[in-house]
Symmetry: C2
Subunit: 352 residues, 2 copies
């Protein structure tokens, strides 16, 4: 039933896009164009590249901040309050961006905050999915160590590709599918270490959480793309605002359910440190970057960006934490690089 | 100067092939046709598949026999005598095959043993190269352990691809090059083990021998293909006979130079065991299989066959030696499988 509904969104989106003859259409078009022509296309290609680059940098620093913040082994601060603040911060950023737009361009149908029940009704769903996934993201460490988690996280790649195909009905060429399998194998290879085979002994709960998280994040991502692309001309900051409002609501509920006592006794900001604040800021910014990539690119670009981010994280960790790069890392990086190359080649061929 | 000479061979070969309008031409044609049509093409495709399969099976059993034969840690028998017997056996097999052909078809220009200086003059070169490579193949174990050697051996893949392109002037599509890089990365990944990073500490002699071996085997393979394909209509058994005759000569020299005393004192067959005999038989048969693949397919097919053989060896070793398959092996196997798929896809695209 969800699927049906999203398919409808998509069909509508398609119609709107092809009937619309505005900036946003060529924007959406540029998503699938490999050879951009004209300064218009070029500026869209630039925008797409900038948001993708931003996502890559933010994601790689995110992983590093997580390692730092949990150096004590446990989280001293309440995770739910942190997640709430992330959503609140994203809301604030969206409103700030809108305020500037209203001042410059005035209020239009596309950038007004007021909305219809029809438009807003679907926004809670990804917020709910992301909430569950975010909570799991912290608790899975009870069953899997960080390297093991990194390896299991690669299920996301496959789940996103499959759900992207099923839900958004977008075609990938044979070579792009091959590239996607390679991306998953390459990322996993790059994260291999002498103790990696332990991951095969991950307890059942660990496997289950990893698979559920992969499906949740895959579905949430694809569903968000469907919502954002349903109204191509709608300002992204308005769409983000409504996404994040529901994010705040769901995280508020999580605080009440999970951490009410802790927060009531120790206070909302108990255990917060500079690193916690940086982490919240980073999560907020990367969350916005994800929305931008959904609007101006798609989930496949998102997956490639976050995968390359993994490799960057490892390279940065060499300097920060004295990690050493293994033969496996080099081999995995080669496979990922070839995968990126094949994805672009496959795109060209799909269009011929 | 060698290169130039081979290029000439190749050009001549090309002309001959295209002027010839006989069975052998369509045979050579079938090498590059991906979609075979007609029962003639089909039977050639079958022949190509059979020799490729034979090479795969023989190569995988070869690795296992080597492990067995050196279980004592050292070779009790003289390596040079073993190599000599391998060449002699291949000669005998070729003559036996020819005898049958003469009985059935009578002696023709294509299957007569007598030859011209022009034809025979190039046959010693691969024999010499193979000799050096075979000797190194046993002695490199002094510097690298078996897993390390398996990893370094993957240089062969790159060297063969590059020399195939340079010497035979055969084109590979972009995707086939990508597939080739993946084949090398995938094979290496599949052979990773907790101690693989030691290979990065291989002594200089080890690296040098590995690279020299890669270039020797790559060049010998490509040069042999050039010789065999120079005269498409010439019977493969005659071509093999002359290749192996020079193999016998060079190995006889090796015996005199290296093991003369040992052979004179202890006797030619000192230290031979059943496993030694099986190894010699296996080397002889896989040597013939290689020639057949050169004649009816090419060096690229040879590399893919031997790479898949590596994976088969590992799987068989699980049962024979109780090896356990690592996460890395599964990841590498996935990458190799995708590589094989991309190679065939790339072939189709090259022909469009």
């Amino acid at each position: 039933m969800e699927y049906r509904r999203i398919k409808d969104l998509q069909d509508k989106a398609g119609e709107e896009v092809h009937s619309h003859n505005n900036d946003e259409e060529s924007l959406r078009g540029s998503k699938s164009d490999s050879i951009s022509t004209g300064s218009g296309e070029l500026s869209k290609w630039k925008r797409k590249s900038i948001v993708t680059l931003a996502l890559t940098v933010l994601t790689s620093s995110q992983a590093i901040l997580i390692v730092w913040s949990k150096r004590a082994g446990k989280y001293e601060y309440s995770v739910t309050t942190a997640n709430f603040l992330v959503e609140a911060l994203k809301c604030a950023f969206s409103l700030a961006a809108l305020a500037r737009i209203w001042r410059n361009e005035g209020v239009t149908d596309d950038n007004r905050l007021s909305t219809t029940l029809d438009e807003v009704s679907v926004y809670p769903i990804p917020a709910a999915l992301y909430l569950i996934k975010n909570l799991l993201q912290y608790y899975i460490f009870a069953y899997v160590d960080a390297p093991g988690y990194q390896i299991l996280k690669n299920f996301n790649i496959i789940s996103t590709g499959v759900l992207y195909r099923i839900i958004l009905k977008k075609k990938l060429s044979e070579i792009q599918w091959a590239a996607f399998v390679l991306l998953c194998a390459g990322c996993t290879t790059a994260q291999l270490n002498p103790s990696s085979d332990h991951v095969l002994q991950t307890p059942f709960q660990g496997w289950l959480m990893a698979i559920v998280m992969a499906l949740l994040s895959g579905f949430a991502g694809v569903y968000t793309e469907a919502i954002i692309k349903k109204r191509p001309s709608r300002n992204i900051n308005v769409q983000n605002f409504w996404l994040y409002v529901f994010g705040m609501v769901f995280n508020a509920i999580a605080i009440l359910v999970q951490d009410f006592d802790a927060v009531a006794n120790k206070g909302f900001f108990h255990g917060y440190s500079l690193i916690t604040v940086l982490m919240i800021l980073n999560h907020a910014l990367s969350g916005i970057a994800v929305s931008m990539v959904m609007k101006y690119a798609d989930n496949i670009v998102k997956v490639y960006a976050t995968s390359v981010a993994m490799l960057l994280t490892a390279i940065v960790s060499v300097f920060l934490f004295g990690f050493h790069l293994s033969l496996a890392f080099f081999l995995g990086s080669i496979v990922v690089s070839v995968s990126v190359y094949l994805h672009s080649v496959g795109k060209v061929q799909r269009q011929q």
